[in-house]
């Protein structure tokens, strides 16, 4: 079994295949703090890719209410339980082994889903959620852990819930790919998008069983499994709208809450991100460390990063996003001028922003956050496309526009 380096768990791990050549990697940052669970993203995906017979229960994008909800139901609790059973009491992190580039969150001392499998019967520890588990895309919608009659306050709400937006993570070490005995699942060198070859798939559902995020789904009318395709024609730039330039996916660009930013990051053959300081994703994940991988301990090195919800009990969040949670929330609650500027890029354009620049602006105000004084500056962030051409420019202070009072009532 080859060894690969997984920087999210800060160590080498066993994986069925050695690292292949890689140039760019599909990646995204989701800001859970801003999502309103409008499911516009979900419908954007559905109406683009999964509207045909046999795909009724398929939601490549879904937004679920945590902690009770899940699509399929209890997917994460189930995997965590399987892992805990396989390695009782051992699924812990060693945060003393931190290294800024190679182990930013410390080192995971437990076992990944690859390491708890026997490699003969299964390559990956997993399960097939039965059909009933897939029938509700957002079951327990808005159900909080408890009623808080006196209200709630930071840092941790007494009764809480939050929305978790989920698509396929186009993992660096995909479990779906490792599990496929026919090698029908492949990861593209040019953008790291993970696809199932619909010609070779024979419907064994090993990927459905293996994907810890349950983002590979079975389609009975073709007897094959299908999954999020990362809107690859858009990422490739073959959509006429952007005239050959890489464009963000449907679920990203449709986002009402402006919670999503997606792009392509430079990666090396060792699975590590190559330094690219001015790429907004690189900045948010590797410099500001405000966005974290979902369940990094599974070991697939997922490529969707989450800014954790700042009101949720930290032990829950640490289990979900790893030991980087406290730093990430601190960095989000009290952002640097640069972080604040980069956050403005979310949903500012459909084209993928490959780099940005911040132009400093005047001080516009002062705030008190958690007893700390904060100054606000009206900086401007400028986004550039793959050719280095400016595509967007946003200021931190949103312009206030007052509507004239005479406008008719039903005009928007």
């Amino acid at each position: 079994m080859p060894k690969v380096y997984n920087w999210q768990i800060g160590r080498e791990m066993d994986y069925r295949f050695a690292n292949g050549p890689a140039k760019l990697q599909f990646a995204a940052v989701f800001n859970t703090n801003r999502c309103i669970a409008c499911q516009t993203c979900t419908m954007a995906c559905k109406t683009t890719w999964t509207f045909s017979p046999g795909q009724e229960l398929m939601w490549w994008n879904n937004v679920e209410t945590k902690p009770y909800g899940g699509f399929p139901q209890h997917w994460d609790v189930n995997i965590l339980t399987l892992q805990e059973k396989a390695n009782p009491g051992g699924q812990t992190w060693d945060v003393s082994k931190k290294d800024p580039a190679k182990a930013p969150y410390g080192s995971f001392s437990g076992k990944t889903i690859f390491e708890t499998a026997d490699q003969v019967n299964n390559m990956v520890t997993g399960y097939i959620p039965p059909e009933d588990d897939w029938k509700a895309p957002n079951i327990f919608e808005d159900a909080a852990t408890k009623h808080s009659p006196t209200g709630v306050s930071l840092p941790e709400h007494a009764g809480w819930f939050f929305y978790l937006q989920r698509i396929c993570n186009h993992c660096t070490y995909p479990a779906c790919l490792a599990a496929c005995p026919r090698n029908a699942v492949y990861k593209r060198e040019e953008d790291g998008i993970v696809l199932i070859d619909q010609n070779r798939c024979r419907g064994y559902r090993k990927c459905v069983e293996a994907c810890p995020y349950k983002k590979s789904m079975y389609r009975p009318t073709t007897r094959t499994s299908e999954k999020c395709v990362g809107c690859y024609p858009r990422v490739e730039g073959t959509d006429p709208l952007t005239e050959g330039l890489p464009m963000e996916t449907r679920c990203m660009t449709a986002c009402i809450g402006k919670i999503r930013l997606q792009g392509l990051v430079k990666v090396g053959a060792d699975g590590l991100w190559i330094e690219d300081r001015q790429n907004p994703l690189y900045y948010l994940v590797n410099v500001a460390k405000v966005a974290l991988p979902l369940y990094p301990q599974f070991g697939t090195q997922p490529n969707v990063y989450y800014i954790p919800p700042r009101w949720v009990p930290r032990d829950y969040l640490r289990q979900m996003f790893g030991p980087g949670v406290d730093d990430a929330i601190a960095a989000y609650m009290n952002p640097s001028r640069e972080t604040l500027a980069v956050l403005q890029l979310f949903r500012a354009t459909q084209s993928i922003v490959f780099s940005y620049k911040v132009e400093q602006g005047p001080k516009t105000g002062e705030l008190n956050v958690g007893g700390q004084k904060r100054e606000l500056f009206n900086d401007t962030v400028i986004g550039y496309d793959s050719r280095g051409k400016e595509i967007v420019r946003v200021a931190v202070d949103e312009p206030v526009i007052e509507r004239p009072s005479q406008v008719a009532m039903n005009t928007i």
């Binding site: 017979p53 003969v120 039965p130 897939w134 005995p181 073709t222």
Partner: protein, 327 residues
């Protein structure tokens, strides 16, 4: 001096003999003439007058079954299976078509793969490809010896279900399009997604992960589930259409192996119950009449002579022992 000469002479004779052996062996290899004969369990396909295509055809009544033990596939990922301990195989030929009838006990009839957790019952036969020069690895063949696999699937025989049959209460206002293009795997030419594929897929393989459809799909099959048992008949014309597929002719032998998938056990791909290769002999002669206890008689004679010779051996031993003692 004399001893040395004898030594050199024997050396020379041995070298000469060795050279002859090597040359003869080389010649046999070159000619592909194997003087040995396989002795593994043999499934004999006798000619049949009636058409054996249906699993309950009367042609099968007199065909003698062989019971082949099956084991879990536990060597290569994805391993598992083993819930079906034996399979009973019969073979016949009729009008230059080979018919193989397989029967096994399975308490559950798994014909639907409509739900994500449902897997189909299935059975497969594996033959060495026509091009294989040695018996290939049972595990999906090997690079220099491919295999030809015929797989019958209960779900393929049942056909692709409509959503309304899977979920009678489902309400779908409309689908924007029901063209093949939107059945992605179908549009990509994947045989498992093809509603017209039929119950049997004809596949070729040259090691794990290389299983792919054969160039031609002329293997037919029909399965019947009755009284807790599946009976499946495969058939194909003798002539193999290309070197990757098996070829048969009357009076020849080849190898045959079996695999059974038990859907309700989650069996699919490598997770299955498998047999080793046994010999398939395609007999030109008819099955010798069932009543003719010919074999039985000769076997009795053989057994009796065996006993006699054993007694003789023991007698001699006793005699030799005594002689040794008394001298």
């Amino acid at each position: 001096m004399n001893a040395l000469r004898t030594f050199i002479q024997t050396r020379r004779r041995m070298l000469a003999a060795g050279a002859v052996f090597l040359v003869v062996a080389g010649f046999l290899q070159f000619a592909g003439a194997n003087p040995a004969q396989s002795q593994t369990i043999t499934l004999t396909a006798y000619p049949s007058d009636a058409d054996p295509a249906a699993p309950d055809s009367k042609a099968w009544k007199d065909a003698l079954p062989i019971a082949v033990p099956l084991t879990a596939q536990a060597g290569t990922y994805a391993a598992g299976g083993g819930s079906i301990p034996t399979i009973s195989a019969r073979a016949l030929h009729h009008k230059d078509q080979l018919y193989v009838r397989l029967e096994w006990t399975d308490a559950t009839d798994d014909e639907s793969t409509a739900r994500v957790q449902d897997f189909s019952d299935a059975v497969a036969i594996e033959f060495p490809a026509r091009a294989a020069t040695s018996v290939p690895s049972i595990c999906m063949g090997q690079a220099d010896a491919g295999v030809n696999i015929w797989q019958w699937r209960a779900d393929s025989q049942a056909g692709i279900p409509e959503v309304t049959t899977i979920h009678p209460n489902a309400l779908v206002e409309s689908y924007p399009s029901t063209e093949d293009l939107f059945f992605t795997a179908r549009a990509a030419g994947n045989p498992v997604a093809n509603p017209a594929i039929g119950a049997v897929q004809n596949l070729i393989s040259r090691t794990f992960g290389t299983l792919s459809p054969a160039a031609t799909q002329q293997v037919l099959g029909k399965g019947v589930y009755k009284d807790g048992k599946w009976s499946v008949v495969f058939s194909r014309p003798f002539a193999g259409p290309d070197v990757d597929q098996a070829s048969f002719s009357s009076g020849t032998k080849t190898d045959i192996a079996f695999a059974v998938w038990n859907g309700s056990e989650g069996d699919r791909n490598g997770r299955k119950s498998v047999s080793a290769f046994v010999t398939l002999s395609i007999s030109a002669q008819k099955l010798p009449g069932t009543g003719g206890g010919n074999d039985a008689m000769v076997l009795t004679i053989a057994l009796l002579s065996l006993l006699g010779i054993t007694a003789l051996g023991v007698g001699l031993a006793v005699y030799g022992y005594r002689e040794g003692r008394t001298s």
